[in-house]
């Protein structure tokens, strides 16, 4: 099959970018979208042109490295799918597609379709953990965890940190990302001692980074490759409010 791509090319954060048109002929429908870009890149390189830069690693939808907009939708048209798990059979022969990097001020552009998502790591560093220094752990079965709670924690813990929720949100909010971590750890008994501090710390850091607030648009949940639900944001708000009202540190 064949596709017409308009790919955002930009050498660096301070340079001007533009769309570059490529006709990709003769690609098999069983190729993944990124394998199709691999083919295009080999063809570009053979002409001496610089290949399109994009992040990817595991190519099985779990590492969270890949991601860009296809026709304005984060990770493209597949439901609950990262772009590496999207296959050309999801498109029609001759389709015209626009590929753009994640767009959010908090994700500075690095090159072409690559952005810097370091802000998400810094949100985790501000409280997205349980303090359990190596060697200090009690016996694992000492504290039973109801199966339903463990499952709910696991649902939230499947977040891969790809940043699609931020890119899709008109406010560039990282609320779904932050909430997923708060729900994961807050559902477990091990996560209770730091539950309030965690909410305060992560939300404050998200604000410092410049992520916007949540206004219940719901784009995040629509594009999340792991199906994380907006309800988790309600839990974020509740944890944050409770901690802000009761913590001696108060809201940041």
């Amino acid at each position: 099959m064949k596709l017409v791509l308009h790919v955002w090319r930009q050498r660096g954060p301070s340079e001007r970018g533009s769309f570059e048109r490529h006709q990709v002929e003769d690609v098999a429908p069983e190729l993944s979208f990124l394998e199709m870009l691999d083919v295009l890149n080999e063809r570009l390189a053979s002409r001496g042109a610089q290949p399109i830069a994009f992040d990817s690693d595991c190519r099985e939808g779990i590492c969270g490295a890949c991601g860009f907009m296809i026709n304005g939708v984060a990770h493209g048209p597949g439901a609950a799918t990262t772009v590496c798990q999207l296959h050309l059979r999801s498109f029609r022969d001759g389709d015209e597609l626009w590929l753009e990097p994640w767009r959010a001020r908090t994700f500075p552009l690095v090159r072409d379709l690559i952005v810097d998502r370091g802000a998400l790591d810094r949100v985790i560093a501000a409280g997205g953990y349980i303090t359990a220094p190596t060697g200090s752990a009690p016996e694992a079965n000492g504290l039973p965890v109801a199966k339903s709670e463990a499952e709910a924690a696991m649902d939230a813990a499947t977040c891969i940190g790809c940043g699609a929720c931020v890119a899709a949100c008109p406010n560039a909010s990282a609320s779904l990302f932050t909430a997923a971590k708060l729900v994961h750890l807050g559902r477990l008994p091990q996560g209770q001692p730091e539950r309030g501090a965690r909410a305060l710390g992560m939300v404050a850091q998200a604000q410092r980074e410049g992520f916007g607030g949540c206004t219940n648009v719901g784009e995040c949940q629509a594009v999340c490759p792991k199906g994380i639900r907006m309800e988790s944001i309600a839990r974020l708000n509740r944890d944050y409010l409770r901690a802000a009202l009761t913590s001696r540190r108060g809201a940041a």
């Binding site: 969270g64 199966k147 813990a157």
Partner: protein, 637 residues
């Protein structure tokens, strides 16, 4: 080359205690005077970096990904072993030790494997404390499942995403230390050289992949946790960017390489579908708990699987290995699948596939129960193949998955370069000639959380390495080497793509040094490899410049290293004139096609010393002494 494994004396179950009791300590107040570099942020690297930082050392951790949360440990699916005996089925450290030694076909060190089994329970404790959402029973206790090579249930899991959850636990501990200022995290940095001065590791040269700048990093000790080298084969289940550059450069600077030919072929992967396929996808071994592996009894049977009656199917694993059935170790299952396909009974396009069938399990447990266990794996299979594994069986075939070989380390995980430690898949330590399922996560975390921290402390207290400044000529020399190599790659300006070379290398290695090997095939590969390398350095097309983000250049450097490492793998496979575990030499098999070891000549670790560019490497041996187990013919019948 002197190889001293430094295994403590005394009974097997007391060796690790002896080590920790006798090691020298660095006092808490003095730890902040010591810099430690950790390269890699997977399970071993993130766990080591977090734990060292918690102790008070000043840690710098580097990874080539844009975030430490993306290291390839994240893709591990099925689980992590631990001898907790929660299922009351008779498990113990002794039994886990025995299964692992036997699974590795008696080619690993008893002392290391026993320590791994002893530490396994503490790993689960640690992970649960961090909030890893392991599967639970209704009563709230931890659930277990079975894995290959064991006759009991000791595998802990978080759906089919166990690696992800364990890595996030380690990553969150690491980020906590980053937030506290105890650890400096450098993402998008790739190690290109090890700096050795005065006979010890003093630091590294890394390339900032975003700007292209070469950066110097000095430390009192360096820990490599950079994973395995399965991508030598081009098509493997490893992530696209997994590479051997860090361990290969360390090897060239004096770190010996052990058992390079021991590579694991995983039996259950989605078969190759086309020329432009970028990688292969694993379907977790846990599926063999409920899935039954079969092929049609008649070669070339064209019927759809559902229409083939029971009597005309060959459940070849259950037939050949009734005691373990579908849960034989990976090397055994892979070879059995290859054998039926070579006999013309494979299924699917090209005939290189076998069925993995859940129909019986769905009848027994019900679809909801099966979906709860494997739902995300079923979804992944359907997404990739466009076929529903509930409606008909999965089609699977073996693929390269893991490398048991790696840099040689002593009992304290130190390489032959003092001050250079190696953890996780990057070292050779615990799996012998074949790794059991759910043991990679166990080893990575045992190394990172529990062995590296005291071992590094002992080195710092004993050797008291002096501080070397990054202005030292040794750093300048190493940086010049790295720069010259990058410039040489960019100067080729050839016409053939780096991927085309990588694909050719992969095919060559799969044929000569894959699931089965022969002296003739290996000699052919050894004759071809130098020529392929010359062609690469003459004809490879590497676009762009060094002073920018340049993925073509990154890839070219990695493939250049694979082209060298491949030769060492073939040499090692040729020199090991026996079959053992994953290393199957066609000349050495039992009448029923099982691997035949030669303990008189090969009960040793093969340890390769780099002898300089162009000179053949030197082979040394570390004899393996079995005091507790008696090596026998592995039997899973």
């Amino acid at each position: 080359m002197k190889l001293d494994a430094r295994i403590p004396t005394g009974p097997l179950d007391g060796k690790w205690d002896t080590f920790t009791q006798q090691m020298k300590l660095v006092s808490p107040a003095n730890r902040r005077r010591h810099e430690v570099i950790v390269v890699g942020a997977g399970l071993a690297g993130a766990a080591a970096a977090a734990s060292l930082a918690e102790l008070g050392y000043r840690v710098t951790c580097l990874c080539f990904q844009d975030s430490p949360r993306r290291a390839h440990s994240i893709a591990a699916q099925g689980g992590i072993n631990a001898a907790k005996n929660y299922q009351n089925d008779g498990d113990s450290a002794e039994r886990l030790f025995h299964d692992t030694i036997k699974g590795g076909d008696f080619r690993s060190r008893e002392a290391n494997v026993f320590r791994l089994a002893q530490l396994s329970g503490k790993i689960i404790d640690q992970c649960v404390a961090q909030g890893v959402p392991f599967a639970r029973e209704y009563g709230g206790t931890l659930a277990n499942r079975s894995f290959g090579g064991a006759q009991l249930s000791r595998t802990f899991y978080a759906r089919g995403q166990t690696g992800q959850q364990l890595l996030l636990g380690a990553y969150q501990s690491l980020e906590r230390q980053v937030g506290l200022g105890q650890c400096r995290m450098l993402a998008r940095h790739e190690m290109l050289e090890l700096v050795v001065e005065g006979g010890a590791a003093r630091g590294i040269i890394a390339r900032d992949l975003q700007t292209g700048a070469l950066t110097r990093h000095a430390a009192h000790a360096v820990v490599l946790a950079t994973g395995g080298y399965a991508n030598v084969f081009y098509l493997s289940t490893n992530a696209k960017n997994c590479n051997a550059t860090a361990i290969w450069r360390a090897h060239q600077r004096g770190a010996a390489f052990a058992n390079p030919c021991f590579t694991q072929i995983h039996p259950t992967c989605i078969p190759v579908s086309g020329e432009h396929q970028a990688k292969l996808t694993l379907m977790s071994e846990s599926l063999r708990n409920d899935g039954r592996v079969w092929v049609p009894a008649r070669p070339g049977d064209p019927r759809a699987p559902a229409t083939i009656p029971e009597a005309e199917r060959d459940y070849f694993l259950e037939r050949r290995y009734p005691a373990f059935g579908n849960l034989v170790p990976r090397d055994v299952a892979s070879r059995a699948a290859k054998a039926v396909c070579d006999a013309g009974r494979g299924v699917g396009p090209g005939g290189y596939g076998v069925y993995l069938d859940f129909a019986d399990a769905i009848r027994r447990v019900g679809l909801p129960g099966i979906r709860e266990r494997y739902g995300n794996l079923f979804d992944m299979y359907q997404r990739i193949t466009d076929q529903d594994p509930v409606a008909g069986p999965m089609r699977i075939y073996p693929a390269v998955h893991y490398t048991m070989g790696g840099l040689w380390v002593d009992y304290a995980l130190m390489s032959t370069v003092p001050g250079l430690f190696v953890a996780g898949e990057a070292n050779f330590s615990d799996h012998g000639a074949n790794r059991l399922g759910a043991s990679a996560l166990m080893q990575g975390l045992a190394d990172g959380y529990f062995i590296i921290p005291p071992a590094v402390g002992d080195y710092l207290a004993t050797a008291a390495p002096s501080t070397v400044d990054v202005q030292h000529p040794a750093f300048a020399a190493a940086e010049d080497l790295a720069r010259a190599r990058l410039e040489r790659l960019l100067a080729i300006r050839g016409r053939r793509s780096v991927d085309a070379f990588h694909r050719e290398l992969g095919r060559l290695m799969w044929d000569a040094c894959g699931m089965s090997r022969s002296a003739a095939g290996l000699q052919q590969a050894l004759a071809r490899l130098p020529a392929l390398r010359d062609e690469f350095w003459r004809e490879a097309n590497v676009t762009g410049g060094a002073g920018e983000l340049n993925q073509a250049l990154e890839r070219a450097g990695r493939v250049a290293d694979f082209l060298e490492l491949a030769e060492l793998m073939c040499r090692d496979a040729l020199a090991r004139d026996e079959s053992c575990g994953s290393h199957f030499r066609e000349e050495h098999q039992t009448p029923d096609g099982e691997a035949r070891r030669d303990d008189d000549q090969f009960a040793h670790v093969a340890v390769w010393e780099h002898a300089g560019a162009g000179a053949p490497p030197r082979r040394h041996v570390e004899p393996l002494v079995f005091e507790t187990v008696k090596p026998g013919q592995r039997s899973y019948k």
